[in-house]
């Protein structure tokens, strides 16, 4: 429970007096405080710097070092203070956590030192407040990446690696040319051939010399054979390289889908298609067009250039901004082209023959190119033309620097927003878990409390110590408060727990519900829902729960504080009478025994005694609702439960509550 809430607990308990006259049954006894001390100041000496605080401040978080009895190990008898040989700067933040309930991460602090301190004091880093959590996670990620990089480079420098297979060595060689000389050679050779290929493509088209007949030939046709040989050589090298990479790739499917491999394929395909199609004269036109794809070989350089890769990546990530720019430009172009077309329609011999024809004028004008091949002749046309060029300056020249500076900002921000969203989901999930933990804890302790009473009756006192778990005083007081509320209203909380089968019968003002009927209701609803939600994941359980609850009450919960999504329909509880059952564990089916394995360790020894044991087995509940999400085929559930009902043995002992 949060620190703040603990401070208000006495108030909430006192206010519970308001329920007393309304309740129809007596209230449970309050938990006694064994040694009630007056609040005292304790001194914490951290490497010489003395901090002082109230004892109760520290006890707000009983599962940390300072809040539990673990700090007694650090108690110095001579000076009557607790001495910690740790960093006092970080301790300041930690102590503030106890005081305010919020853990902050100081920016000047090294992340790993901070983590160590948190681990020492038993504080989970997840508790860091919203104000500092993002920074903390960022720093942690950076640090992790740095460590990983360091590890990688260490590994690279080490000569001896755990023996990699030939394939893995090859892959490493391809990805990191600096690993071995051979890889480096290969890297430079392929780079050279890419350059050669690109240059031949370019030079092919240059006219060099004339042939008798006064026709200027491009070099490609004059020295056709030479160029063909060069092209073949390059393609062979590229093909070999591609096949080698394909062979070495750890995941071939992923490799084939990657951008670089697509570029490789596109670079060499035209050649092979050309080989296949040389004979056919009709499609040679198409073949020529294919040659244009050879220019994609230049993109192969991106394997060699880190900068190119980063540019490609940033363009990809900034795609939405660029897309918007394009869209707004298109809008402006269409508007102005239309206007210019209609303005110039009147003039004779106008070049603005149609709106699409005017697009060219608009683009050339807006980008301030102004080729001059199309000019407006009418006055209206000139006016609109000048407006077009002015607005072109605005539309194009302004956003470009903004976009350039935006994209580093937006790029980082996007990443952070996604991260925050993902973190938020995870944190909310953890908070939900903690809340169910607290309500589960309540029911656990209630069961323990009731068991304690039962044990007192049966006289087996030696098992008592198994029962009492280490719930803090605050927790037991909170549970007592919830218990009082249950008594007032005559209802009881339902939380799923395979062991919470402390069944108590009702008195007076609430009715019995037939177990079988209840179970049937639950199973029906679960059956209805099961076909729709195949996965035994948590979400499907939520669906099952809410449907079950809503089926009964017709209202869905709408409350921020309710942890209903996390509670699952499980056991039945009625008040004031306890059934204690003798279980015969071997006779239970495996699923039941697996559930029973989650029982308190303290309970299991009891099963061995022949007398009335405190082994608690769960009542037959549909296996589809197991919390750990084991999937069971739906048809088996009815038979399953009937199995269980027959195996529950009959030594039911009814013990009335005090």
């Amino acid at each position: 429970m949060a620190a703040g809430v603990a401070a208000w607990l006495p108030f909430a308990r006192a206010a519970a007096i308001g329920w007393m006259p309304v309740a129809n049954c007596p209230m449970p006894l309050a938990p006694t405080e064994k040694n009630k001390r007056q609040d005292e100041l304790i001194i914490l000496n951290v490497s010489g710097r003395r901090f002082q605080t109230w004892r109760t401040t520290l006890e707000r978080y009983p599962d940390t070092l300072l809040g539990s009895t673990e700090k007694e190990f650090f108690f110095n008898e001579d000076t009557k203070e607790y001495f910690f040989d740790r960093d006092p700067e970080v301790f300041r933040c930690i102590l503030n956590f106890y005081r305010t309930g919020k853990l902050h991460y100081p920016r000047y602090e090294c992340i790993s030192a901070y983590d160590e301190e948190l681990a020492f004091y038993g504080i989970l880093p997840e508790i860091i407040g919203d104000c500092c959590y993002e920074e903390y996670k960022d720093r942690k990620r950076e640090n992790a990446e740095r460590l990983m990089d360091d590890n990688d480079s260490e590994n690279n420098q080490e000569g001896s690696m755990p023996s990699l297979s030939f394939r893995q060595t090859m892959w490493r060689a391809f990805e990191n040319p600096h690993t071995s000389t051979l890889a480096l050679v290969f890297y430079y050779v392929t780079g050279f051939f890419i350059a050669v290929s690109v240059i031949t493509n370019v030079v092919e088209t240059v006219p060099c010399g004339t042939v008798p007949g006064n026709k200027e030939l491009p070099c490609g046709e004059r020295y056709a054979v030479a160029f063909f040989c060069l092209d073949t050589a390059c393609v062979m090298i590229f093909t070999v390289e591609y096949l080698l990479r394909l062979f070495a790739a750890p995941s071939r499917y992923r490799f084939i889908r990657s951008v670089m491999s697509i570029i490789d394929v596109v670079a060499i395909m035209p050649y092979y298609i050309g080989l296949v199609m040389t004979n056919n004269e009709d499609v040679s036109g198409a073949f020529v067009t294919l040659r244009v794809f050879r220019v994609f070989r230049i993109f192969k350089f991106s394997r060699h250039s880190q900068g190119l890769r980063i540019l490609g990546y940033t363009l990809k990530s900034c795609a939405s901004e660029l897309g918007f720019l394009l869209f707004s430009l298109t809008m402006a172009i269409i508007i102005f082209a239309t206007v210019m077309f209609y303005a110039e329609k009147g003039s004779s011999a106008s070049k603005f023959t149609s709106i699409p024809a005017s697009f060219w004028y608009t683009i050339v004008t807006m980008t301030t190119l102004g080729y001059g091949d199309m000019v407006p002749k009418t006055i209206a046309g000139k006016i609109f033309g000048s407006i077009c060029s002015l607005s072109g300056v605005l539309v194009i020249a302004l956003p470009v620097p903004v976009i350039v500076s935006n994209f580093s900002r937006i790029y980082h921000q996007n990443q952070r927003a996604d991260k925050r969203r993902a973190q938020k989901k995870a944190r909310l999930a953890r908070i939900r878990v903690a809340k169910t933990g607290s309500s589960n804890a309540y029911l656990h302790s209630k069961r323990n409390g009731l068991l304690n009473e039962a044990l007192e009756l049966t006289g087996s006192t030696e098992d008592e110590q198994h029962m009492t778990k280490g719930t803090s005083l605050i927790e037991s007081q909170h549970h007592h408060l919830l218990h009082c509320l249950e008594k007032t209203t005559g209802l009881s909380y339902l939380v799923d727990d395979p062991l919470l089968s402390v069944r108590t019968s009702t008195i007076k003002n609430h009715e019995f519900i037939d177990e079988q009927l209840f179970e049937q209701n639950c199973m029906e609803s679960s059956m209805q829902n099961y076909p729709s939600s195949r996965s035994p994941s948590l979400s499907s359980h939520h669906g099952l729960t809410t449907s079950c609850c809503s089926r009964r009450t017709k209202k869905t919960t709408h409350l921020p504080n309710s942890s209903v999504p996390a509670t699952r329909l499980r056991s039945m509880q009625e008040l004031s009478t306890i059934h204690i059952q003798c279980s015969e564990q071997p006779s239970l089916t495996t699923s039941r025994s697996s559930l029973n394995m989650k029982s308190d360790d303290g309970l299991r020894p009891n099963c061995k005694t022949a007398q009335i044991t405190t082994a608690i087995i769960s009542i037959p509940t549909p296996p589809a609702l197991t919390p750990e999400g084991e999937s069971r085929p739906p048809p088996s559930s009815p038979s399953h439960s009937t199995n269980i009902s027959t195996t529950t043995t009959s030594n039911i002992v009814k013990v009335s509550a005090l």
Binding site: P10, P21, A23, L491, T545, L559, S562, M572
Partner: protein, 191 residues
């Protein structure tokens, strides 16, 4: 209306509070430290109060009952709880006589503070209490459960059957009921 963000409310002097309540000085000191830690401005408004109270009842909706509680504690009706309201109320609840406690409870149920508890008032209170339990309970919460509970209450309390419960009737019935008497004492040692 009090502006909580800018005003820092100072409580009455320690001596005055000692005179008004039955707490000892150390108890008052520790109570104030907790209070001030939670509400540095010195005042609790109704929304904060509802938030705090709701944290104790994660499965249900405690806001309606918290509203009634707030009205019961806010003796001077200024829309905010100051430390004095808080501690005077607590003193009645924890250190008061049974008579005073019952008077406090009566005051809580009497929503319009006219000295009579009508069935409508009681129904509202009852519904708010049941709301705190939430939806997933056993036995399942029927919509008629609060009304039935109110009927039971009135049968017990309303002696002359005039449809309202006065403080005398309330006091008389409660003093005769052992369960209620004993449960009034269970929170003796909360502080």
């Amino acid at each position: 209306e009090v502006e909580l963000s800018t005003v820092r409310h100072q409580p009455e002097e320690l001596e005055q509070l000692l005179a008004q309540t039955k707490f000892t000085k150390t108890e008052l000191q520790s109570l104030y430290r907790g209070f001030k830690n939670e509400c540095p401005s010195g005042l609790v408004d109704e929304d904060t109060f509802k938030l705090i109270y709701s944290q104790f009842f994660p499965q249900g909706d405690a806001s309606t009952y918290a509203h009634f509680l707030f009205d019961a504690f806010d003796a001077d009706r200024n829309g905010a709880l100051c430390f004095q309201d808080f501690v005077v109320g607590l003193s009645v609840l924890l250190r008061g006589t049974v008579h005073q406690k019952l008077k406090w409870a009566f005051n809580l149920y009497d929503i319009n503070k006219d000295g009579y508890i009508t069935k409508e008032e009681m129904l509202e209170i009852m519904k708010s209490i049941y709301d705190m339990m939430g939806r997933c309970t056993h036995p399942t919460l029927r919509d008629s459960a609060p009304a039935e509970h109110v009927e039971l209450f009135f049968q017990k309390m309303d002696r002359n059957g005039d449809g309202v419960v006065t403080f005398e009737e309330f006091l008389e019935t409660c003093q005769k009921d052992d369960d209620i008497m004993s449960s009034m004492q269970i929170f003796e040692n909360v502080i």
